[in-house]
């Protein structure tokens, strides 16, 4: 689904309409001597919103008018009092602005503009969606009850099919009433960002990812102007002028990224720039006072020194924060001086449409977002090192977990050669073994409700065609879960040996990665090399290497040759080297000892604890 310009314009018009309405109310209040500074702040925010969204869609005149209103109100705010006679002229400006926005839309706006809309409570659409889902189920049951006899009767079968198609259609329509992909509002952004950058004398590239993320329409429609604010801030305050970037050894073209993804029961919309970031003093202040977002959102605060037509006054972030919070979400802000700023809008997910892979464990269906799934495999060879089973996939060791155990459910044993779903996220992979795969389906994700909102690990639930409920799992939570548990066990030791760095040398990816994961879990920093020659080069490169762990049989240069070469160098003659090999015979052991190995571990006798103890002793911490 992609939105036409007209849809965008209509959205901006609707939002501006709401803003103008509020401005009018506040101005009237000020005129009658009520309202005070809160009304002034509110007018400023609304004018700023209109300025932002108008400029974004290229309505320059409207943006200029909104800016002028902003200026007048700002003047009054600075003086500390609002002369009541100012209300009249300002109301006039609001009227002009309203006219401009209505008249300034598209070449032939009036026809579309008149398209009637109705406002319906979201809960009513939700109820409708529930009932439609149930009707689909009843239809299936009816078909089942009528059985073969109905199928045999051509006319009856035709009517049943027709009913099913209509119901599918109805379901789609209702879902569309309720959700929209983020792309609905992002389509005009890249162009707008280029134009805006040009106006500012900057070069900026916008990259959008996750635009297909489905969002609650209520939230989506309210959030576009907010995203526009943040994007404008990124261009106006974040990204530096090309020359300035060049002298800071950055590419001339600045990057602004807009990313959306589902995160637990929320949707995260991140806007990140690689610009100048906020000042170090601010970061320091944020550390003391708690939140950078809080500080930057203070009314009257601005990160730019001068107020330009584009953004400024910091009114923007104030409005952003209020708005996100009014939707039940959160605003997070991170910044690194000289490196950039990242603003995250965390929005609640009340309902969404998602493609999921369905599978069963312990007789219960579960789902995982298709977007998080790398592949599906049949588990045959399981490599185990220590107590942690792994699968070898494309030469990489991927940790394998029983989904049931991982969730903490009481389940029977897995079948032989069970299927496993491999999830990927944030550069990590995890294989989840289950009983059976049920297939791929597009489902409506429903919230587990307020009572269960605190139970982590679920994106929500989906009602399947047979009426059963499939819990839809949060892949990011699953990927984190086992590591968190381990991190707890090892926490104490981890801090003590945070600095020790180990080079793991093995030509087999799986072995290398398993050793890496054991060492990393135990708190070591790990580098890897594929053979002796590469290892020797790395030994020279890595300044603070504490230990080398090497296999023997490798192409190019084997482990013994590597060891001899290391010992031959003055600088590394005392660097601890541990040999980890399948060669358990006496001759090999002797050769290792003669070459100067500090420890010799045979892979068949490998035990995780023993290895870690050996390393700890050699590293001397």
């Amino acid at each position: 689904m992609s939105a036409s310009d007209e849809e965008i314009h209509e959205l901006v018009r609707q939002e501006a309409g709401d803003c103008l309405q509020r401005m009018e109310t506040n101005l009237l209040a000020l005129e009658s001597g009520e309202g005070g500074s809160e009304a002034l702040d509110a007018i400023l925010r609304d004018a700023h919103s209109i300025k932002g969204s108008s400029a974004m869609v290229g309505w320059r005149e409207a943006a200029a008018l909104a800016h002028s209103i902003e200026e007048h109100v700002e003047e009054a705010r600075e003086k500390g009092s609002f002369p009541t006679e100012l209300a009249g002229p300002l109301l006039g400006e609001v009227d002009t602005l309203r006219q401009t926005i209505v008249g300034d839309s598209t070449p032939a706006p009036t026809a579309e503009l008149g398209a009637p809309t109705i406002r319906v409570a979201a809960s009513k659409v939700d109820r409708m969606l529930d009932v439609v889902g149930e009707t689909v189920l009843y239809h299936r049951r009816l078909e089942h009850v009528l059985g073969e006899s109905a199928r045999a009767d051509g006319a009856a079968a035709e009517q049943l099919d027709m009913g099913e198609r209509l119901l599918d259609n109805l379901q789609d329509s209702v879902v569309q009433m309720r959700t929209l992909p983020l792309s609905t509002i992002t389509t005009p952004f890249p162009r707008a960002i280029r134009d805006l950058a040009a106006e500012e004398g900057k070069e900026v590239e916008l990259e959008i990812s996750g635009a297909e993320t489905q969002l609650d329409r209520v939230i989506l429609e309210g959030i576009s102007e907010t995203i526009v604010h943040v994007l404008r801030n990124a261009v106006a305050h974040g990204v530096e002028a090309p020359d300035e970037r060049e002298s800071a050894a950055k590419p001339r073209v600045g990057r602004v990224e807009l990313r959306a993804e589902q995160r637990g029961g929320m949707v995260a919309v991140e806007i990140a720039d690689d610009g100048q970031g906020v000042s170090a003093e601010l970061i320091e202040r944020a550390e003391k006072e708690g939140s950078l977002a809080e500080i930057l959102a203070e009314t009257g605060f601005s990160t730019a020194e001068e107020v330009t037509g584009v953004a400024g006054r910091g009114v923007g972030l104030d409005a952003v924060k209020r708005h996100v919070e009014s939707l039940g979400g959160n605003l997070e802000l991170q910044s690194e001086p000289g490196r950039g700023t990242q603003v995250t809008l965390l929005l609640p997910l009340t309902l969404a449409l998602m493609r999921v892979l369905l599978f069963e464990r312990g007789g219960q269906p579960f789902g995982l977002p298709m977007a998080s799934i790398g592949r599906v495999v049949a588990v045959s060879d399981v490599t185990a090192l220590g107590n942690r089973p792994s699968l070898e996939l494309e030469g990489e060791a991927v940790p394998l977990s029983d989904l049931g155990l991982l969730l903490g459910a009481t389940v029977e044993d897995l079948p032989e050669q069970p299927p496993a779903v491999v999830i990927e996220s944030l550069g990590r992979r995890l294989a989840l073994a289950c009983d059976a795969l049920l297939g791929e389906e597009e489902v409506v994700i429903k919230s587990l409700g307020a009572l269960l909102a605190g139970v982590p690990g679920y994106l929500g639930a989906a009602i399947l065609g047979d009426g059963r409920i499939a819990l839809v799992l949060d892949p990011n939570h699953l990927l984190k879960a086992p590591r968190e548990a381990m991190a707890l066990n090892q926490a104490e030791e981890t801090t003590a040996r945070a600095a020790a760095q180990v080079l793991v040398v093995d030509d087999q990816f799986a072995a290398r990665e398993l050793q890496r994961s054991i060492l990393e879990t135990a708190g070591y920093r790990v580098q890897t090399a594929r053979d002796g020659r590469e290892a020797l080069r790395r030994v020279g490169e890595i300044g603070d290497l504490d230990l080398v762990m090497t296999d023997v049989q490798m192409p190019e240069m084997d482990g013994f040759e590597l060891l001899e070469a290391i010992r031959a160098e003055q600088a590394h003659s005392s660097l601890p080297v541990v040999i980890v090999t399948t060669l358990g015979d006496e001759v090999s052991r002797k050769r290792g000892a003669e070459a100067g190995a500090d420890a010799y571990i045979v892979k068949e006798e490998f035990d995780q604890q023993g290895l870690l103890e050996t390393i700890e002793r050699l590293v001397g911490r």
Partner: protein, 137 residues
């Protein structure tokens, strides 16, 4: 709180909740367990296309496991949940609770036809689950 109440049977004991807090009574049917939730949560139930959490009332009240057959769907503020009960006894007028009861989940108790009936405090029974740990009950 006197007024019309729904009286239910839970593990051989009698409990009641105000009728205006009850949305409907449904068959227990299929419940999908939610691993990771506290023991008193049986799971989630498909109630006319809505996903509704189901609380094992017996476990919530610290009773022996009963034989849940029905769910009484109750609502309190934003929280809607089904309470799994063995049976619904009747709907009728209940006098003001006269007996004090030491339970966070009960407003009190009342003697009715020689049987003690616990009046449920729906607000605490339906208290949302915090992500860290369950409050002791």
């Amino acid at each position: 709180m006197s007024g019309v109440h729904v009286r239910v049977l839970v593990a051989g004991e009698h409990y009641a909740l105000a009728v205006d807090q009850v949305l409907e009574v449904a068959e227990l049917g299929d419940i999908a367990a939610v691993p990771g939730s506290p023991p008193h949560v049986l799971g989630v139930h498909n109630l006319h296309g809505q996903v509704v959490p189901v609380i094992a009332l017996a476990a919530r009240l610290g009773l022996a496991e009963g034989e849940p057959q029905r769910i009484v769907v109750a609502e309190q503020g934003e929280v809607k949940a089904g309470l799994a009960v063995d049976a619904v006894i009747d709907v009728g007028e209940l006098p003001e609770p006269s007996e004090q009861v030491e339970s966070p989940y009960l407003l009190g108790a009342v003697l009715l036809d020689g049987t003690l009936v616990g009046v449920l405090d729906i607000e605490t029974v339906l208290a949302p689950i915090s992500s860290s740990s369950e409050a002791p009950g």
